[in-house]
Symmetry: C2
Subunit: 243 residues, 2 copies
């Protein structure tokens, strides 16, 4: 991990850009470091530059609650090499959705499974690198992003203590099957009227999660209309599990 | 409305027992009255004496948040005259559930619809009587109890501003149909693994609610295992809508 940029934001948040191998990422920590703080990994749908305003808002909120926050670019997104197969699957999905046709499992598998397979080891590599830094220590949470990545990560990565998952993307059946081995505390956010998602599949995934403590928050407002109060709900979830 | 008993509890909560016609009820208000406070109606499954510890805990929480709280006995419950037809329907439902058989609509209709028809006008009579008291004023919330009563009340009673509903009982299809005319802000609590409920019917009811702002909180823990943190979630829901 090599740090490339560093700046102090106005509310005493230190923001550092880094590369992990050839993967760009960003780390936010309390500007006035005291004892080591727990870490929250910030998931996203890909495209760090495009997502920056929302990621920064979530990172500021995390730091204000006493955590560090970190994220890395997804495979095939932002400035990373594209995946022609994923681009084709994404185009197919958009065409099917625009035509109002049913989404078949094949498209979802082609789009999501290679992404999960490529991304999860990268987030694990981030976890290898980050806790070695001064100022970061304790439990690790995962928040948001492509839900299939969050599920796989929660299954294979014992360093993650709790996960806040956003059920806002199509889920391969292989991930639903794998969810039975997901056992950490989890809160799942679902937009009930999400125009770009399959509600029943999201409910099937929630049902399949093997966690003894699992909570579903469903709201109205469409794919991009998550109510503002869910930011506080996220903070309270992590406060229960990362302290 | 005639007040029968009055006591000051140790945390400055005034508790008054009353009768409304021949219906027993309880009112909890801040002991040190200041400006009029909003009212939360506390729903329950019937049996005020049996439910008293849980109702008192909810009432204390409401008063601590700056509300008054009130409840009345349900028709056919507690010391009120039994309904032989409802008792028969309840016995039929228990037998079917114990045998692991599917619950047919007829049993649910016989058990719930007469209860809703009888109870809703009584809660409306409570609303006629209570806001005339000094110390109570402003918006009214409804919380908990038999969800079909809460839905009907939210549809027919414009004085209710927001409702927190507990999806913990079987729902007649007629109530699901009526739910489309339910438009106030609502938060629905569902125990995902409720052994005494039909999860799909609860989800159908949530889907049918016509509210622009509706939130579902689903948790694990079985019928009686609602997590303690949902008490705070209820407070925050009412703080958003009764202030």
């Amino acid at each position: 991990m090599r740090f490339r940029t560093e700046q102090r934001l106005d509310d005493d948040v230190a923001e550092r850009g880094f590369t992990l191998g050839d993967i760009p990422g960003t780390l936010w920590t309390p500007g006035s470091a005291t004892a080591p703080v727990p870490l929250i990994l910030l998931g996203h749908p890909g495209g760090l530059d495009r997502m920056y305003p929302r990621l920064l808002a979530r990172a500021r909120s995390a730091v204000a609650q006493g955590y560090a926050a970190a994220t890395i670019e997804l495979p095939g997104a932002g400035d990373r090499p594209r995946s022609p197969a994923a681009d084709q699957a994404r185009a197919d999905l958009r065409r099917v959705l625009a035509a109002g046709e049913p989404v078949d499992d094949g498209i979802v598998d082609r789009l999501v499974l290679p992404l999960v397979d490529a991304a999860v080891p990268e987030w694990q590599a981030l976890l290898d690198a980050l806790p070695a830094l001064p100022g970061i220590g304790g439990p690790v949470g995962y928040s948001g992003g492509v839900i299939s990545i969050g599920v796989r990560l929660g299954v294979v990565e014992p360093r993650i203590t709790a996960a806040l998952l956003y059920a806002g993307s199509f889920v391969p059946r292989a991930i639903v099957d794998q969810a039975r081995r997901f056992t950490i505390p989890v809160q799942v956010l679902l937009q009930w009227d999400d125009e770009w998602n399959d509600r029943q599949m999201a409910l099937d995934l929630f049902d399949a999660l093997g966690s003894g403590e699992k909570t579903l928050h469903a709201n109205m407002g469409g794919h991009t209309g998550v109510p503002a109060f869910e930011a506080d709900e996220a903070n309270r979830f992590f406060a229960r599990h990362l302290r």
